[in-house]
Amino acid sequence: MTGTVYTETVVFAPPEQFAADAPYQLGIVELETGKRLTVRILGERVAIGDAVELAETRNQIPFFQKI
């Protein structure tokens, strides 16, 4: 599954259950179908317009990475 970063942020103040993950990058990815998905970004930081692909799904959370 691939798409384009529509917007993104890096979270420094997480909710309680994600305290161990912070800081983490979160983004909204626009898939080729036009549908948008809120995802976590794995590895290298991404910016709006970057092409990304699904790397893995953990606890029902999609993790995308830069292509």
Binding site: T9, A13, G27, R40
Partner: protein
């Protein structure tokens, strides 16, 4: 439909009050409001309460009769409204609708939140529940994160800058410093605002509203009866509540809140005015970007021009259209369930000419805009002098 007026207002100070419980705050605001209109609790025909998350923050449910009973309001309909940060805006909208329809004459509307008894990560988690917990929430989106993503996209599409965001915080803190009931009465500089601790890029701690305790209340009645209670009624010229998707990723364009645009359109039409007629406004600056987007959605400026507008000085206390003379959610504080009604109190105070050193020069027509979640609920109210 009957015309409806606000005849009483009451607010507690906003802040972190470890010794105060939720009910005592709501009762104080209600009592101040009733005293303002010289009305006794036994005259109240219905009680509408806005509260977002009392059950999660303090473990108390069934809040409306719990608070009403302590004020001395008995044997009438008492109902809690939940619409995230627009909870009391929604309670107010429905209360006004019921009085306009002729169901009741004297209705008390309250709003309350007690947030500071929980840790910041826990508050962040509870607030995230105003979003889509099956999607964005599960992925780790906090509310600062959702508005940070809105800010990033607004910057990308319109060239909005960090300085323009910070200008909102600097202005609102300047106003709040003059408000005796504000949570953080502190003037801040542009340099401070730009160098705050990062919360969710590009937002720093100075872009985020405060976690506060507080309550507010207003008393409404048909305009034809207002003179029995006050010499300075504020008339509700227009009001609308609208909705949109809860999840940010389901909105076509996240740089605009369609619910706000639609509510504004309806409220302007009902009032028979346009955006250019609005002399001052209290807008929902839960984050600095939200004030910038609000000024665009309300039609004060063209889409994409909210950033330059924010830094131009035109929205300052002495500008052409002062915005958030109370200090806004940024400095006055944001006890989320109280915010919608608190905004109405702030606009009415200006209309009455009672805002002291924050008093604006032109105060015949003001607007309040209350937002729930990342734009899933919007309430816009236009108030005028009688």
């Amino acid at each position: 439909m009957r015309e409806v007026a606000v005849i009483g207002i009451g607010k507690t100070a906003f802040g972190a009050f470890p010794d105060r419980d939720l009910r005592s705050l709501a009762v104080e605001a209600g009592q101040v409001c009733l005293a303002d209109a010289n009305v006794s609790p036994s005259q109240i025909e219905a009680f509408y309460l806005g509260n977002f998350a009392g059950p999660s923050f303090v473990g108390q449910n069934h809040l409306a009769p719990y608070i009403a009973g302590a004020i001395g309001i008995e044997h009438v309909p008492c109902t809690r409204f939940e619409a995230a940060c627009a909870s009391s805006g929604s309670a107010f909208f429905h209360a006004v609708s019921s009085v306009a329809a002729g169901i009741y004459d004297l209705v008390l509307v309250g709003g309350v939140e007690k947030m500071t008894s929980q840790s910041t990560p826990k508050v962040t988690e509870i607030l995230a529940g105003a979003g889509d917990m099956m999607g964005e929430g599960r992925a780790g989106a906090t509310f600062p994160a959702l508005f940070a993503m809105i800010a990033r996209r607004h910057m990308y599409q319109y060239g909005t800058t960090r300085e323009q965001l910070a200008a909102v915080a600097v202005k609102n803190h300047a106003n709040g410093a003059k408000n005796p009931l504000a949570h953080m009465r502190k003037v801040i500089t542009m340099e401070q605002a730009l160098n705050g601790k990062p919360i969710s890029e590009p937002l720093t701690v100075y872009d985020c509203s405060l976690i506060s305790d507080g309550a507010a209340a207003v008393l409404i009645c048909p305009l034809e009866r207002a003179s029995e209670f006050t010499s300075k009624p504020a008339v509700i010229r227009g009001i609308a509540q609208t909705s949109d998707h809860v999840a940010l990723d389901e909105k076509d364009d996240i740089t605009t809140f369609r619910a706000v645009k639609e509510a504004a359109k309806r409220a302007y039409k009902m009032a028979g005015v346009t955006a250019s007629d609005i002399q001052f406004a209290e807008v929902h600056d839960c984050f600095t970007i939200a004030e910038i987007v609000a000024t665009e959605d309300l039609g004060f400026v063209q889409k994409g021009c909210g950033g330059p507008y924010a830094i131009s000085g035109r929205t300052s206390l002495t500008g052409e259209r002062p915005i958030n003379t109370s200090g806004g959610l940024k400095s006055k504080g944001h006890p989320v369930g109280a915010t919608g009604v608190a905004q109405i109190c702030d606009v009415v105070q200006q209309i009455r000419g009672d805002a002291g050193e924050r008093q604006v020069r032109r105060h015949d027509l003001g607007l309040a805009q209350n937002l729930g979640g990342s734009g899933a609920t919007a309430v816009v109210t236009i108030l005028g002098a009688a």
